[in-house]
């Protein structure tokens, strides 16, 4: 018997953490799908970020990716908990499954999925509300940073400037970044909460070249200066020669430690 649960809410409301905890407390198979949501007037919410799946997969290595059609075998389907997440700023008009946007229902048919529960952050008391900003107008931008590796000190400066308004009024920023020592770090920030959250994920990339894993930044806010953000990020990323220098130095350091 499978359970298919649909979760929606505005950016930063705590969807991903709720999903992670729900999966961790479930003993059977777990499957995940993230939908992009739909752009409404002045609400650019349709970015389908890969950050959440990469983060959840890092924490739950057996997590099944439902965006890949052949990822679930018949055996996996037994006793599976499927959670489908999508961003939605406004509260559904009706309770339960009836409140689901028809476009979502149609999209789920492509995946042969039929939800039997629907929960919305800010409406259903079962979900603890971390934050539900009342967004009226929002811009979203995202940058694919796969294979890119940051100069750590530059990343620190860029993130500080970003969340303090140097590139526009940021309401929400979320990113998964590669560092030259192989670390993979999740950055999370929302305007109404104090400080950024940083989490070093379990995956560590080898000190040799550029990792293939997902790396991305998603920024939501108002009057965002996309060109300036892109230019600054470009100045923070390591080129091949500098990366090689860092990685060689780190490899040598590891060798010396191993010899002691």
């Amino acid at each position: 018997m499978s359970q298919v649960c649909l979760i929606s809410g505005s950016p930063g409301c705590g969807k991903t953490n709720w999903i992670l905890n729900t999966f961790k407390n479930y003993s059977g198979n777990c499957g995940y799908l993230r939908l992009g949501g739909y752009s409404e007037i002045n609400l650019e919410q349709a970015i389908n970020s890969k950050i959440d799946f990469a983060f959840l997969k890092d924490q739950i290595p057996n997590l099944l990716d439902l965006s890949i059609s052949n990822s679930i075998s018949e055996k996996d389907k037994e006793n599976i908990l499927i959670i489908i997440e999508f961003p939605q700023f406004f509260t559904p008009k009706s309770q339960g499954i009836n409140g689901v946007d028809l476009r979502i229902i149609n999209e789920l048919e492509k995946y042969n999925l039929q939800p039997n529960r629907y929960l919305h952050f800010g409406r259903d008391p079962e979900l603890s509300i971390k934050d539900t900003l009342d967004f009226r107008e929002i811009e979203s931008i995202s940058l694919d940073l796969q294979k890119h590796i940051w100069d750590p000190a530059s990343l620190n400066t860029f993130w500080f400037e970003l969340v303090n308004g140097a590139y526009g009024d940021v309401y929400r920023a979320k990113a998964l970044m590669n560092l030259p020592d192989g670390r993979y770090i999740l950055f999370n920030w929302i305007v109404s909460q104090q400080g950024s959250q940083y989490q070093t994920l379990n995956q560590v990339a080898p000190l040799n070249g550029r990792p293939e894993r997902c790396s991305e930044i998603v920024i939501q806010g108002k009057n965002l200066n996309f060109e300036s953000i892109k230019a600054t990020i470009h100045n923070c990323l390591l080129n091949d020669a500098v990366l090689d220098h860092h990685q060689t130095s780190l490899r040598n350091s590891q060798l010396q430690t191993a010899r002691r």
Binding site: F158, N164, N235, V242
Partner: protein, 271 residues
């Protein structure tokens, strides 16, 4: 008699004008400048010409040196790749804007100025690039002042104003002679030495946005740090109009200074 010490003007004309006005209002005519007239800010020629016209004795700062001599190959103290790229952009922009006459002026500035018991330098007596931070090792701090044969060492470069008193210093020397086999010991008591950092006029790094400088009374030995408000919006507009990165204006306006500084002053670029 009161004298004023200003430092790190960084081509911020409204800040320099406000500080000079504040000095004038106190009736002070003896002013010494510790360099870094240019760098990051939008009015390098105007600031040099103002200081030159007023005949203010000035030391050469690290930016003044680099703009004339070219960037040091890899002696940079940039704390990040991003800071380095921004710094290089500002360097190139400043180099392109400066007139030949003003470059010559910077090139001919002295490394230090001595007035009686006071020595005036940009960074330290050793180098325009060395940071004398307020919490640096006391032995190293005393060594810098003592070797410079000064009672008060005035410096800038860190952009953080401070007054550090090095009291009750002494130097103990012990020598073991081979023939005749004996040991000689001597301890020299040192009078109090002081390091006074003037902060920064054009790029404050004290957590606020006000320009800073110091006033020293050479009779009472009293030193006061002064903070001066200036029209930051004017400087920010000039930054944008000049085609410098808008982030310089944002940082200045928010009290984060134009550029980052390494938390570790001994930081050297590893690239």
């Amino acid at each position: 008699m009161n004298q004023a010490v200003i430092s790190c003007l960084h081509a911020n004309l409204p800040a320099v004008e406000a500080v000079l006005k504040d000095i004038e209002l106190q009736g002070i005519t003896n002013i010494t400048c510790l360099g870094d007239l240019v760098g990051y800010g939008p009015q390098p020629n105007e600031v040099i010409e103002l200081i030159r016209d007023k005949e203010i004795p000035t030391c050469q700062g690290c930016w003044d040196e680099d703009v004339v001599d070219g960037l040091d190959a890899c002696d940079c103290s940039y704390p990040s790749q991003l800071a380095e790229k921004r710094g290089h952009f500002a360097h190139q922009w400043t180099t392109d804007k400066l007139t030949t006459e003003n470059k010559d002026y910077l090139a001919n500035l002295p490394y230090s100025i001595r007035k009686d018991k006071c020595l005036f330098v940009h960074g330290s007596p050793n180098s325009q690039h060395e940071y004398l931070l307020p919490d640096m090792d006391a032995f190293a701090a005393l060594e810098r002042v003592e070797n410079a044969r000064a009672e008060i060492l005035f410096c800038g470069h860190t952009h953080q104003p401070y007054i550090r008193e090095l009291a009750d210093g002494s130097i103990a020397v012990k020598i073991k002679n081979a023939v005749p086999k004996d040991t000689q010991e001597k301890e020299i008591q040192l009078p109090m030495r002081r390091i006074v950092n003037a902060g920064s006029v054009g790029e404050p790094r004290h957590g606020g946005t006000k320009a800073t400088y110091v006033v020293y009374n050479d009779v009472t030995n009293e030193v006061k740090i002064r903070e001066v408000e200036y029209d930051i919006e004017l400087t920010c507009k000039a930054i944008i109009d000049a085609g410098l990165p808008p982030i310089f204006a944002w940082r200045l306006k928010n009290g984060f200074e134009f550029a980052e500084q390494a938390e570790d002053a001994s930081h050297v670029c590893e690239r």
